[in-house]
């Protein structure tokens, strides 16, 4: 037993070392930095205790960025999974070209983010020449065609629509892979017993897919909380405060843009809050989603 333990530890050691060096140490270092007023340019860091965290509480832009992030997490998550389930059910209903549809729905996940942001902000949402405006006008929906999808009032919702469109495909593929594992005999037996599609969905599909759904929701939560690339690139030259997420605002405050704000200590405090939020959300989700595993 002792020899076995020693063997296990020996094999675990390299990976653990890498984990400590590239994750644990930087995370602890970041936590330490968050208690300082530091620009990052030199060693002149001034200890300020919890001042950075107190300032977060008063910072309207941070509060707005956190609100945006949580909206993406919750509202975005509900819509993504709702659409993913709907498309999964449709694709599994026996239609022809299932694999082709699945590939098309998954396609945005393999296209570069910068190409997607350009497509949405220029080709689709352009107030004059955009596909959406002209398509709506062509369909006779004149009042809808005058909507400025990238005005300050609408830009966040428009960006979220694009984020949802990009992400739905990934979760469709995830759910379909899970559904493919469910024995068809269960559905046949249910049909014989008189179950309809909705009943089969709630009584068979969802319970047997529960662990896949849990993994999917946790993945979505982590990605939604730390989302950066799309909001950053959506407004080409510099991110708009209306589309700030916590990760974007952290970058603005810590890494300097055209205005040279270099508050690395403050930005790190945001990072710590973000990590704690992720941990809290994952813990809550794991508890809420816990149920007995059904073997089949």
């Amino acid at each position: 037993m002792r020899a076995r333990t020693r063997l296990i530890l020996t094999f675990l050691f390299p990976a653990s070392l890498l984990y400590i060096v590239f994750f644990i140490y930087p995370a602890l270092r970041a936590l330490y930095t968050s208690f300082f007023d530091w620009s990052g340019f030199s060693d002149n860091a001034r200890f300020t205790g919890l001042d950075n965290y107190r300032q977060l509480y008063r910072d309207d832009l941070f509060i707005e960025s956190m609100s945006n992030t949580l909206t993406i997490l919750i509202a975005g998550g509900i819509i993504v999974f709702g659409l993913a389930f709907a498309l999964t059910i449709l694709l599994n209903s026996g239609i022809r070209g299932r694999k082709l549809f699945r590939a098309v729905i998954f396609l945005p996940n393999i296209v570069a983010v910068i190409a997607l942001t350009t497509m949405w902000s220029v080709a689709i949402y352009h107030p004059r020449f955009g596909l959406l405006k002209n398509g709506l006008a062509y369909l006779g929906l004149e009042s809808w065609s005058t909507i400025l999808f990238t005005s300050p009032q609408n830009i966040f919702k428009s960006m979220m629509a694009a984020i949802i469109w990009i992400n739905v495909g990934f979760y469709v593929v995830l759910l379909m892979a899970g559904i493919d594992k469910i024995p068809t005999e269960l559905y046949e037996a249910a049909k014989i017993d008189g179950a309809n599609q909705v009943q089969m969905f709630y009584k068979i599909t969802v319970p047997l897919l529960w662990d896949v759904i849990t993994v999917g929701i946790v993945l979505w939560s982590i990605n939604a909380l730390k989302i950066f690339e799309f909001p950053f690139a959506f407004t080409a030259l510099e991110p708009s405060p209306n589309t700030y997420t916590v990760a974007v605002y952290l970058y603005v405050m810590g890494f300097g843009q055209r205005t040279p704000i270099y508050r690395l200590g403050y930005a790190t405090a945001m990072g710590v809050v973000l990590v704690l939020t992720v941990i809290l959300v994952v813990i809550v989700l794991r508890r809420v989603m816990r149920r007995e595993v059904i073997q089949y």
Binding site: L61, H126, P127, S151, I155, T235, M253, R258, T259, Y262
Partner: protein
């Protein structure tokens, strides 16, 4: 005879020996590390690369290693310097580098090198610079930045559109400006192009109005007021009302509230709009969009009624070199900077990169000739947000830009803008420590 020959050889060798020592010590290999804000394929980078090659050819013992980082250069330099990496000199937009590396005390003062004679003129090299550019970001008389690219902030306009509606001379006063906008609107143009998401374009309307009404430094003084009460000065309410007037009258078309860069400026390039308040890079950015016969013009922000400022006071975006304080080779870097500042090299930058430059006797590209004239005639120059970006970046970015943008896009009224600035700025200074 043999002894004479031997003696002669020994004598020649003895005489030649110090020369050999002198030559080898004077030709010590010097490596200079340069981190650049340009991407390698950009015309400005290619010009700088040619400068480096020419300088190295003239100074075979000097090797300049360039790293083309792109616009995040200062952020990357920060990390590298913290990690102990050797970087000798860098370049960047002057406003951010002044508020970054220079403010952190990492820049070498350049006064002594600027007092040296220029390579191609019998005068101190500081005298070949366009007036105002060297001192703009000086700190207590010390110059830390060696500017080389000069961008002006002006209204860049379609000369044919203006001529079509009978505007022979660009407007010089606010009243003439509004009149010009109305004529353009009546003729079917969008008078002014604007972007909804570029706050540092939008703020130029406030910066210029503050400077025209109150003089250079007035906005900066306002930003420095710890109570924020200077925002109650009537000029700021007037400036905000003037801004809304441009929108309310349709001079800035309503769909501009949804234009994400570069959608707004594209409308100028394709002839839908007539002008835009922006940097002198615009004609070059739109070079592939405009028709071949498009004639560019630029005019200064108009004078405001009863304003204390001069219409020739000019906002500039400078791009500058900076020498890292701890470099071991300041002499060689200074020689390189003097080399690039010759008329020939500056003209090459102006011709090949189609940008304005900071040397007086250089001709700019025809598209931005009005920028050159504005630079030559400038009564004073000032930086972004009247210097506020360099000195108070967080106040400017997180409070001024945000609130002005809300005003610009109609989310708040002029009165709300003033009150919000008073409150937010007071809170900022109270917490600034």
């Amino acid at each position: 005879m043999k002894n004479v020959k031997l003696l002669t050889l020994l004598l020649v060798a003895a005489l030649a020996l110090p020369l050999g020592v002198g030559v080898s010590s004077g030709q010590d290999e010097v490596k200079l590390v340069y981190w650049s804000m340009w991407n390698e394929t950009e015309p400005q980078a290619q010009v700088i690369q040619s400068w480096i090659e020419a300088f190295e050819a003239a100074n075979p013992n000097i090797d300049i290693q360039a790293t083309w980082n792109g616009r995040q250069n200062q952020t990357l330099v920060r990390t590298a310097l913290s990690a102990g990496e050797t970087i000798d000199f860098v370049d960047q937009d002057a406003d951010p580098i002044s508020g970054g590396l220079v403010a952190e005390g990492l820049a070498l003062p350049l006064n002594e090198y600027l007092d040296e004679t220029a390579l191609d003129e019998d005068m101190p090299v500081r005298d070949v610079f366009t007036p105002g550019t060297l001192d703009l970001f000086a700190v207590d008389g010390q110059v830390y930045l060696w500017p080389y690219v000069y961008n002006t902030s002006q209204f860049w306009y379609n000369k044919d559109a203006f001529a079509e509606v009978g505007i022979e001379q660009p407007p010089a006063t606010w009243e003439e400006f509004l009149d010009a906008c109305q004529k353009l609107l009546d003729a079917g143009y969008d008078p002014i192009a604007a972007e909804s998401d570029i706050q540092f374009y939008q703020i130029d309307y406030l910066t210029y109005q503050a400077v025209r009404y109150g003089g250079v430094g007035f906005l900066l003084q306002t930003l420095e007021d710890p109570t924020g009460e200077m925002w109650r000065d009537p000029i700021y309410l007037q400036a905000a009302q003037n801004m809304r007037e441009l929108w309310d009258k349709g001079y800035i078309p309503p769909e501009s509230a949804g234009y994400l860069w570069p959608a707004g400026q594209q409308t100028l390039g394709v002839g839908l709009a007539a002008m835009e308040l922006v940097g002198s890079w615009l004609p070059i950015e739109l070079a592939n969009v405009v028709e071949g016969s498009f004639e560019w013009g630029g005019f200064n922000f108009p004078a405001m009624p009863d304003g204390a400022g001069d219409q020739n006071d000019l906002m500039v975006y400078l791009l500058s070199f900076m020498v890292v304080k701890d470099t071991e080779h300041p002499r060689e870097i200074a020689d390189f900077l003097k080399f690039i500042t010759t008329q020939e090299n500056m003209q090459q930058m102006a011709d090949e990169a189609l940008v304005g430059v900071t040397r007086v006797d250089v001709e700019w590209a025809p598209e931005i000739a009005d920028g050159a004239a504005a630079a030559a005639n400038a009564t004073a120059v000032f930086g972004m947000a009247d210097g506020g970006v360099a000195l108070y970046p967080e106040l400017v970015n997180n409070i001024l830009y945000v609130n002005w943008s809300k005003l610009f896009l109609g989310e708040i009224t002029p009165e709300e803008f003033v009150e919000t600035m008073v409150d937010d700025q007071a809170e900022y200074w109270a917490n600034a420590g």
